[in-house]
Symmetry: C2
Subunit: 638 residues, 2 copies
C-alpha cells in the first residue's frame, strides 16, 4: 500500500523534544518515527515500524541461517524460576515485579534464560536432541535508574535473545562461534560498524562473554583496543601482573612522621627529601593509596571496603563494580560518605594503611577493622611501598607486600588509561566510547544446574546441559543506525533500511504533476519498490523538501517544473548527487538502483565473514571504522 | 528454510495436559504448538508461531485494506491516563498493576483507548486530519479470575486493536461500518464461521457495540438469534415492554394470610383456591418474585439490591451484571448471603415485597430499607401482582404497579429463554453458545472528553473528536480455528493456515526414499511451497503418520514402498482422499493444489461481502453454520 503524506499518521516537528541529548532521539522524534509514552518507554508510529520491521527481518534471517529456531515467550513471567537461579535478587531494583490477584509474584522479563531452560527441560531428554539453538524477538523490561537518549537506554525495549544447548563444552564453543558469526553478518548487513570486545558476565554468570560495540561518542560504555587486535570493555581488561620480587634484601618497614603531606605529590617529595630510597627516587607509583568505598549489594545491604592501588592510579568505580569481583549480582559502588567513615573510626582519612603488626604496633585494617581490604593485582609479593600508618601525620615506609601485609583479595579497580599495555601483549591500549548492541555469553551450566536441566548421555547417564545466551538490542540497534546515518537536516537511512524505497515529491500545483507522480508511484510499486508519495496539495514544495530531508529516505524523486520538458529530478542524498532524468527512464533506473542497494547490503555480510575466523579482525581493520575509533579515542581519552 | 522433524523444536505427546477441557487446548499442547508458562500465560513453539504468523498476516492485510495504519504501543503504560478515564477503577482486579523504582503507578495494558487518544491529541489538531484509523497487534494483559481453556481465555494474549477518530457521528458511523466489513472479511478468510451480535459496552463505554461470535459449545458466551436475522448476546437482549394497562378498574390491594406456600407453585395454587381472580386463573407470571442480590463494584464496595421480576422467570446474574445498569465499570453480581440478609432484617426471606403504604401499613422496601429496588421492564404500570407482604406467612394481592408501588429503576435481569420474542419482532429466539472473537464499539466522545482530545472544525472552533474502538483476539481466534478444524487424531488446519503447506514423510529406511523426499522438498520449495519434512531415520512410519495426524497439515505426501514403482501417496486429510501419484507429476499437482487453496481462502472474503450491507445476514444464512447454531442451541437450552 502506498504511503501517502496526505494520510500518513505522521507529523514532523521543528522543535527537539525536551531533554533529548542525542541525534537519534531528536531526529526519530522530530521525523515522526517514535513518541515517548513514559520515561524510557516509546510508542512506534508507522514510519518507525517500517524501519524496525526491516531490521527485525534481517535479524531473523541471520538467526535462521545460523540454525536457530524462533519461539516466543510471555513478557509476564512467574518469579519462581528467577528465585531458583538467584536472579530475583541479583537484578535488584532493575527488575519490574508485581503480584497477581492471587498474590503470586510475577516479573516483567528482563531476559529469559530461566524459562528457556525450563522449556528445553520440558521437551528434551536425550543427548540426541542436542545441539539446539532457539531464539525470540521480544519485549524486555528493565527499570533503569536513568533511562536516557531515547531508544538507546529504555525501560521497555525489543531484544532478540537466543539460547544454545549443548551436551559438552566443545559443543558450546561451536554454538558460540556460530552465533558470533551470525552477529557479525547481521551488523554488516545493517551497515553498522561494530567491534566484538571481551566483557564480563555481570549478573548473567558464565565463563566467557563478548560485547558487540558500536563505537560512538553517544555511548555509555568505554572500551579499549590495541593495534594488535585486542579489544575489551574496561571491566574486562586485566592488568599485566608482574612476577613476584625477591624481598630478602629489602629494608625493614619503618613508620615516619610525614607532616604537611596532604597529597601524593607532597608525600613523594618529602619521602625523597627525608627518607630516600637507596636505588632510585620514590615515585607516585611507589605509594599505596587506600580508598574507602561503599558497595551496595542487590539485596540492598551496604558494605564498606578499602581498595589499595598504586598512587599514580585512580579508582574507576564503574569498572570495579562491573568486574563481578565484589559479590554476586549487579552491585553499585561509590565513594564512602562521611557517615560511612564516621562508622569506622579506625579508618583515618589520608593515613589508611594495610594491616600489619610491626614493632608491636597494630597499624591497620586487619584485626581492628571489619572491612574487606582488596588490592590492585599489580601489588604482588615483594613490591615495596610507602603508605598510611593509620595515625594522623604518619606514614610507613618500605612496607613489603607478602612480607608485611596481605589482603582479602584482589580487584581490578584502577582506571585503565591510554597507553596501558594490552593484556595479550599486543601493544598499548587506546580508549573509545561505544554503545553495546549485543552480548554473547558462554553461560556454561549455571542455569541448567539451578533448574536441573539434564539429558541422558550416550551411556544413559544423566548429564547437565551447557548453555549459551545471545542478546541483540533491536530497538537500540535502530537508534545506532540513526546515529550513524543522519545529516544536519535529518535522518539519512541506508537505502535498504529506509521506511520506503523511494520518496516521490509532487512539487507544484498542476494536475499534470500530481498525475505524473501517481503514475510513477504505480509503476514503481508494480516492480515491488515501496514508495512514500508526498501528494499533499496545500503544502509548498519547500515544506515537502524539508520533510523529506527529516524523514531520510535516500532516494528522492522530485516531480516538478521540469515535467514540462519531460524530466524529473532524482536525488541520492547518501552520495549527494542530483540529476535530471527523462520521465520515460526514471522508473527503470530507480528500480535498478534500489535492487542494487539491497544486493550490496546482503553481500556486505559475506564480505565481513570472508576472512573466516579472522572476521572480527577484518572489521577492525576497516579503515573508516579505525578512523572513527581513533576519533572517539582521542575525544574521550582522559 | 525447510522444517525438518529431525531438528524441529517440537515433541508430540500422547497425554493431554492436566486440566485441559477443550480440543484446542489439548491438541495445541499435544502437537507441540504451545506450552503453558503460568495460568493463562503461554509460550509459543515454532509450529505455533507459523500458524500465528499466518493469522496475523491476514489480519494486517484486512486492516490495511480498510485504510487502517499500523502503530505499536508499549505493554507497560503509566496509570495516569487510565485514572482520568475512570478505568483504573473500572477494570477492578482484572488490571495487572505495578510500581516502578520511583514509586510511580503503571499498568499492563488491558486495552489501549486512553493512550491512542493521547497520541492523536499529540499529533493532530484539525478536522482536515480526520478521519483517522490506526491499529496495532499487541500483547494485552488481564488478570482473569478464572483463566481457562488454553488460549481461549488467557491472562497474556495477543489482540489486534484498532481505533477510529472522526469529527462527527456520521464519520464514526462510516468508520464503524468499514471496520465491520473488515472483520467479516477477516473471519471469512480465516475460515471461521462468525456472527455479529448486538452487545453491551461494559467498562468500555460508548453507544453502540457488536460482538463477533464464533458459535461453539466451548464458548462462555450465550447468545440468541431469531430466524429473522436478529442476533445479540444475552446481556444486550432487551425485553419487549408491554403498553401500560389502565388500572382504574383494578381491585384494591389486600394483604392475606398465605400459610404453607413455600414455593411459587404452592402460592399460585393457594391464590386460585382462596383468592381467585375475577377474570382468569392466577399463574406464576402473576407473582412478583423479589430476589436479594449483592453487587460488588469495581472499587470493592458491596451493595445489596432487590430485583423484582415475574415469578415464572429466573434471575440471570451474569446477564444482569453485564447490562451496565448496575453501576459503572465491571461489576460482579451474586445471590445475597445469609450475612447480607442478617444485615437487613427488614428483608424477610420468602415474603419480600415492594415498598407501599397500604392501610397505614408499611409493607416494604421503600422507607424502611436502604437497598435499591430494581424491576424487570415487563412490570409496567397497571400490571397486577401477588407478592410478599414483608411479614412471614402473608402476601399482598392485587398490588398494581404505578398505583401501589414504584421502583428505583429497571434492570434486564431475567434469564432469556428459548422462544422469547426477538425485540425487533423478527420471531422467537433460539439460544446458542459461542466464543467472542472480536468486538467493535462506537465509543463516541467518552475518551476524547476525559482526555481532552479536540480539533478545530471548519469554522475554527474546538470540537471534541468522536471515536470507535475495534478489538480482535488473535490468539483466541487461533484457538477457535483449532476448535473448528480438528479430527479425533489431531489438528487439521485449513490448508492456507497450516504451519507448512505440505508434510512429506519419508516412510522407510532406504537411501532412495530419503533422497526422493529431499529432492521433492527442494523442488516444492523452489516453487515457494513450504515443507515440513519428516526425515527422522530411526522413527517408524507408524509414529511418523501419528505425528502428522496430530500436527495437522492437510496435505501429506508419503514417500515409501511405492517409490520402487515410481509412485508416492498423496493424502488430503480435509477431504479424506488418498491417491498414488507418479513421482514425476506430484510436484506440479501439489503446487497447483496449494495455490488454489490460498486463492479460495482469499476469495471467501469477497464472497462474504458480496451481498453488500447484508453480509452478516449472508453469513447467518450459511446452512452449515445455521446447523451448528441449532446444535448448540438444543444442547445448551435450559
Amino acid at each position: 500500500m502506498t504511503l501517502r503524506m496526505s494520510s500518513l499518521f505522521v507529523r514532523t516537528q521543528k522543535e527537539d523534544p525536551v531533554g533529548a541529548e542525542v541525534a537519534s532521539h531528536r531526529l526519530l522524534h522530530r521525523a515522526g518515527y517514535i513518541r515517548r509514552s513514559a520515561p524510557g518507554i516509546y510508542t512506534w508510529l508507522p514510519l518507525g515500524l517500517q524501519v524496525l520491521g526491516k531490521i527485525e527481518a534481517i535479524v531473523r534471517e541471520e538467526m535462521a541461517r545460523a540454525g536457530s529456531q524462533e519461539v516466543h515467550f510471555p513478557g509476564l513471567l512467574p518469579a519462581d524460576p528467577y528465585r531458583k537461579s538467584g536472579r530475583w535478587e541479583a537484578f535488584g531494583p532493575d527488575l519490574f515485579h508485581l503480584k497477581d490477584r492471587k498474590d503470586n509474584d510475577y516479573i516483567l522479563a528482563p531476559t529469559h534464560e530461566e524459562v528457556f531452560t525450563l522449556l528445553v527441560k520440558d521437551l528434551y531428554s536425550s543427548y540426541k536432541d542436542l545441539p539446539l539453538s532457539i531464539y525470540q524477538v521480544q519485549n524486555k523490561y528493565r527499570d533503569e535508574a536513568r533511562p536516557r537518549a531515547g531508544l538507546l537506554r529504555g525501560r521497555e525495549f525489543i531484544m532478540k535473545d537466543a539460547y544454545s544447548f549443548d551436551i559438552d563444552d566443545a559443543g558450546l564453543d561451536a554454538s558460540y562461534e556460530r552465533m558470533r558469526v551470525a552477529y557479525q553478518r547481521t551488523f554488516a548487513r545493517l551497515g553498522l560498524p561494530c567491534l566484538p570486545v571481551k566483557a564480563t558476565p555481570g549478573a548473567m554468570g558464565g565463563s566467557g562473554t563478548e560485547e558487540f560495540i558500536y563505537p560512538s561518542e553517544v555511548g555509555e560504555d568505554t572500551f579499549v583496543r590495541s593495534s594488535g587486535g585486542y579489544a575489551a570493555n574496561v571491566e574486562a581488561v586485566t592488568s599485566i601482573v608482574p612476577e613476584p620480587i625477591d624481598y630478602s634484601l629489602s629494608p625493614a618497614a619503618h613508620v615516619e612522621d610525614t607532616p604537611d603531606t596532604p597529597t601524593i605529590e607532597t608525600l613523594v617529595a618529602a619521602a625523597n627529601a627525608d627518607h630516600p630510597r637507596e636505588d632510585r627516587a620514590w615515585t607516585a607509583a611507589d605509594t599505596l593509596k587506600n580508598v574507602v568505598c561503599a558497595v551496595t549489594h542487590p539485596d540492598g545491604t551496604r558494605e564498606i571496603i578499602v581498595i589499595g592501588l598504586p598512587g599514580d592510579r585512580e579508582v574507576d568505580l564503574d569498572r570495579a563494580a562491573g568486574t563481578g569481583m565484589l559479590g554476586n549480582g549487579e552491585v553499585e559502588l561509590e565513594a564512602a560518605t562521611s557517615e560511612d567513615l564516621a562508622a569506622h573510626p579506625e579508618l583515618i582519612r589520608g593515613y589508611i594503611g594495610p594491616g600489619v603488626d610491626l614493632d608491636d604496633q597494630v597499624l591497620g585494617l586487619e584485626g581492628t577493622s571489619k572491612v574487606r581490604f582488596l588490592l590492585d593485582p599489580r601489588v604482588v609479593d615483594g613490591t615495596r611501598w610507602i603508605t598510611g600508618a593509620n595515625e594522623p601525620g604518619r606514614h610507613v615506609f618500605d612496607l613489603v607486600a607478602g612480607r608485611d601485609f596481605a589482603a582479602d583479595g584482589t580487584i581490578e579497580a584502577a582506571e585503565v588509561v591510554l597507553g596501558d599495555p594490552a593484556p595479550d601483549g599486543s601493544g598499548p591500549l587506546e580508549l573509545a566510547r561505544g554503545v553495546e548492541i549485543g552480548q554473547i555469553f558462554k553461560l556454561g551450566r549455571k542455569y541448567a544446574d539451578s533448574l536441573d536441566l539434564k539429558v541422558l548421555d550416550a551411556n544413559g547417564k544423566a548429564t547437565t546441559v551447557t548453555m549459551g545466551s545471545y542478546g541483540l538490542g533491536v530497538t537500540r540497534v535502530m537508534a545506532c543506525i540513526a546515529e550513524e546515518y543522519h545529516s544536519e537536516s535529518g535522518l539519512l537511512w541506508p537505502q535498504h533500511l529506509a521506511p520506503a524505497d523511494v520518496h516521490i515529491i509532487a512539487a507544484g500545483k498542476g494536475d499534470d504533476i500530481a498525475e505524473a507522480a501517481e503514475k510513477m508511484t504505480a509503476e514503481l510499486e508494480a516492480e515491488g519498490i515501496t514508495v512514500l508519495l508526498d501528494d499533499r496539495n496545500k503544502v509548498s514544495p519547500g515544506f515537502k523538501f524539508a520533510d523529506a530531508e527529516l524523514i531520510g529516505i535516500p532516494t528522492v524523486i522530485v516531480v516538478g517544473r521540469g515535467l514540462a520538458e519531460g524530466k524529473v529530478e532524482v536525488r541520492n542524498r547518501l552520495s549527494d548527487e542530483k540529476s535530471d532524468q527523462p520521465v520515460a527512464e526514471v522508473v527503470a533506473s530507480t528500480v535498478a538502483t534500489i535492487r542494487a542497494a539491497y544486493a550490496t547490503a546482503d553481500a556486505a555480510a559475506d564480505a565481513a565473514i570472508a576472512e573466516g575466523a579472522a572476521a572480527d579482525a577484518a572489521i577492525a581493520d576497516d579503515a573508516e571504522l579505525t578512523e572513527s575509533i581513533r576519533a572517539d579515542s582521542s575525544a574521550s581519552a582522559r
